[in-house]
């Protein structure tokens, strides 16, 4: 059987006015008790995701986020706080609030500390999802530093050789300043696909390719509604599985946060708080040598990769992030592309909360 494209292309979409989309996100968060400043920070992250075409972290996550706030697992008024630190590290507590402000404070702290010590490791505990990990890495890179950001996620993934959800999709993002205006940003889940792709497929009940997931009985399934109750595999077998485990340990136990079954999951296990942890690392290239030489060496490597002979049928060889800022500019100018099924789900949520949908 020919490999099935996943997520499939050609799903019905609509264009949304960027300002209206942002207002909708803000309205949804305000409706469940987020103070204006926290709602703005969180809306910004999801808005940026949709602008960049990274729709799995955009409006589509509002239902889950709002659900967690309403269930009391996230305190809409919880504010992050730096609880302990040294010259090159800090621990931040999210105080069970939204993850976005905690992620933002962590990135800002990483920049400040790395500016002094040359390197910084920031751990965040008692937090909730930070969603677009590349967003925080980008902040650090725009300050001139190399960035690594990772986070633990409730278990949706079975380990290599396993058939039960015990690992998170534990994403990792890297970002580097370049000689140009925009950093290079790479952001990936360590699972075979991001869990959100399964959720989106489940909206319409469209099948997912073989080899991605298993049901709650551990048996392979192509039905997203069954896989949602089971687990998905790791990227690249044992290597992705090992990477997910390590990232779970770094953004969990290492920084004083929970991991694994202590977290809730899409299985609907109830936990009092999200309890997620995040790990951010920033390194100043200037500590090792000349910054311009660093930026030029990065640019040279990117250039030689883009110039590689292309595989048959490929139009470009792209480096991570190449299309990101183009897409963002187009979304701002021409409207944000939105999947119809995501829009439908958002409309349901808005109606529950008495928030008006944009025309």
């Amino acid at each position: 059987m020919a490999a099935m494209e996943f997520p499939p292309r050609g799903r019905p979409t609509r264009r949304i006015d960027p300002a209206a989309l942002r207002a909708l996100m803000l309205g949804l968060l305000r409706a469940v008790g987020c103070p204006q400043d926290i709602a703005e920070i969180a809306a910004e992250v999801h808005w940026e995701a949709d602008l960049r075409g990274h729709h799995i972290q955009g409006l589509d996550h509002m239902t889950e986020l709002v659900g967690n706030i309403r269930a009391g697992r996230i305190d809409p008024e919880g504010r992050p706080e730096l609880v302990r630190d040294g010259p090159a590290w800090a621990q931040i507590s999210g105080h069970n609030g939204l993850g976005h402000p905690a992620g933002l404070l962590a990135a800002a702290t990483a920049v400040e500390k790395a500016g002094g010590a040359g390197v910084a490791v920031i751990g965040v505990k008692d937090s909730a999802d930070i969603f677009l990990v590349g967003y925080y890495a980008e902040m650090i890179a725009r300050a001139g530093f190399a960035a690594v950001v990772t986070t633990n996620v409730p278990p949706h993934v079975h380990p290599f050789g396993g058939a039960e959800a015990v690992l998170g999709t534990n994403p990792i993002a890297f970002a580097f300043p370049t000689a140009g205006a925009d950093p290079v940003i790479f952001d990936m889940a360590t699972s075979v696909v991001a869990a959100s792709h399964i959720r989106q497929a489940a909206y319409d009940g469209s099948p997912i390719p073989e080899g991605i997931g298993v049901g709650p009985d551990g048996r392979p399934s192509t039905d997203p509604k069954i896989v949602e109750k089971g687990s998905i595999g790791s990227m690249a077998g044992h290597r992705g599985s090992g990477l997910a485990l390590c990232l779970g340990l770094l953004s969990g136990p290492l920084v004083g946060a929970a991991t694994g079954k202590a977290l809730d999951s899409w299985l609907g296990r109830d936990v009092p708080h999200k309890g997620l942890g995040h790990f951010l690392l920033a390194v100043d290239p200037g500590i090792f040598g000349d910054v311009d030489t660093f930026r030029a060496a990065v640019e040279a490597h990117l250039g030689e990769i883009r110039g590689a002979r292309r595989a048959e049928g490929m139009e470009h060889v792209l480096v991570p992030g190449d299309r990101l800022f183009e897409t963002r500019a187009r979304s701002l100018a021409e409207g944000v592309t939105m999947y119809e099924n995501v829009w439908r789900e958002a409309a349901k949520l808005a109606s529950t909360l008495g928030v008006e949908m944009p025309a």
């Binding site: 621990q91 990936m188 290492l254 090792f288 490929m314 991570p320």
Partner: protein
Amino acid sequence: MSVRPTRTMAPEVLRDFMTRMLRAAGCSDVNATETAEVFLEADLRGVGMQGLDHMFAMLDDLRRGTIDGKGRAEITREGPATALVDGHRGPGQPGGVFATDVAIRKAKEGGCATVGLINGADIYMVGYYAERMANAGLAGFVFSAAPSLVHPHGGVERRLGTNPLAIGIPTGTDDPVVLDMATSALSFSRVKFAAYHGEHLPEGMGVDPEGNPTTEAAKIVEGAIAPLAGHKGFGLGLCVALLSGPLVGGLAGKAIDGWLSEDGDRGVRGHTFMAIDPAAFGDPDVFRSNAQGYIDEVKSSRKAPGVESIRMPGERALARRRESLAQGVEVLEKTWEIAGQYAAKLGVDVPA
């Protein structure tokens, strides 16, 4: 897969043989001893990967003078949480161990540390250094930029190294978690060993020099290895290159490709070592017990049909190491044959 003939020998015999070869090729006693130790540790963990078979390239570089057998690493710049180490063109492993130990010391003092190593040739088994940090009670990262053997996602020409990364994490037992992975579909050793035996690899592992997909290992050695899992391994490999090359003052990509050729320019290679002290974030014993709790949870989770155990990163390597120490270390006959040729040239006695 064809049968790959191997031989088994006492670890101390292999160590001694490698030490003598390195000394004969111009290494100082201390460099020969420290280098052979890391090569041996690789052979103990699995057939040849990063071990004796990888020593031949170093012997060539020692002969050409592109590696200085007497070069010793030293710190050239430092801050409380950072250091730049110059390997002074010595063999990679002593420089790697030195940089690792600087990272450990600084992280224990200041909570975390990042150390760059330049002019340090190839450090080979990156997991060794990450394991060393974990054995010191720290979380460790090692990133290493290698010369180009891998094509980018969407491309068919060598542009990236197999750029490995390693992560070491202490646990509640004496065995740390040690992830050591190439960001290519297969490590170069695996492709090369398959080529030694005229084997075919599964589809999708690489292309021939013309850019056509092939399963013939020997053609992939000449062509390019695929990135791991398509765009993900490609992106990861690129980030490893930037973290370990340009970030610390080294180079990446074509600028270090001379390391693969007889007389090419040996561009400055870089490696990055990071260590983080769990004690900065809380009680290290609580950390260890939470880490172990999670590992136990994963290990005891339901297994797929036919699977006996869910292994942690590094588990098999450490089990194999114990086995090799007890029963002898396995070396490919093909590797041994090449070692014999090098020994003859260097005038070194081959162990019986």
